[in-house]
Amino acid sequence: MIYLKLFWEFFNTGLFAVGGGMATLPFLYDIADRTGWFTHHQLADMIAVSESTPGPIGINMATYSGYLTSGLSGSVVATLGLITPSIIVILLIAAFLTAFHDNKYVNGAFYGLRPASCAMITAAGLVVSKVTFFAGDFPSGFSVKSVALAAVLLVFTHLIRRTEKFHPVIWIAFSAVVGILFKY
């Protein structure tokens, strides 16, 4: 009953991941740890693919992880699982739109949810960083080449005004070329 399990896992993700695509990341790591459907390495690749293809990132990640788990039907089931809670919640909210907007309890909940979501994405980022900068072997596998590339990318995306707003797909392509040329 892999399909039921897939649907359930992504239904959960869709229900609790608040605040856009990257917010699904901590849930995907949790799924990877518990089910072994995909590895941390594959998840990192998945983020790169999602960032460089059209469509909402959360959906892309669900489709890709569903595919890794059980092929085409897996990707359809995972995506449907992810969007089902959204559809239900939004159809309910649409009926009470203004009341929801100015409710002090709703506002209070999001006051607490936003920093929590940010913290969980930070933690997910640390997991990817460990795989990346230590080549899976902590701490002996430390990779100077990876840190150098990260430093270059940080300079381009933060300090140089002309390149700051470039689309992520450009940096992904750039990093792929660097990776091939310098045998990362």
């Binding site: 608040v18 990257m22 990132i57 920093p115």
Partner: protein, 177 residues
Amino acid sequence: MKILIDLFITFAKMGAVTFGGGYAMLPILQREIVENKKWGTEEELADYYAIGQCTPGVIAVNVATFIGRKTAGNLGGIVATLGVVFPSVVIITLLAGVIEYYSSLEWVKHAFAGIRVCVCVLIFNAVIKLFSKAIIDRKTLAIYLIVLACSVFLNVSPVVFVIAAGLAGIILKVRTK
């Protein structure tokens, strides 16, 4: 029936041309939905985004559900949402097959090792952007640090953090008023 087909095709087109998630979709929504199809106004779009940001799920999906429902009822909401995810499912499934097939090649491995570094930087940048909006005082900073420490050191489902942080937010915000 005609309106449902129109909804599906319009949202599928938008799903196919938007790179980079919900926010990148806003200008395209403004052109297609407000100016071309007249299914909604600028103000409604802004409201949908605000709500989409603080409800579970992907923002683009939330906005599609809202506009579809407004245009053709609950069924319209479902059809518009299926439309917006349709291109992703097709494109990613095709790519995933190709990537899995080539991933044993030496140069592809090098490429992905480089790309993984880029992914770290992209996540870091996303965190910085979110941090400036989410951490606005000492209490939100405390929530951030506690959840970060717990996610790194404890093996707890993220669902627990979401529920706990939501409750903490209600208690902190509503009580102090």
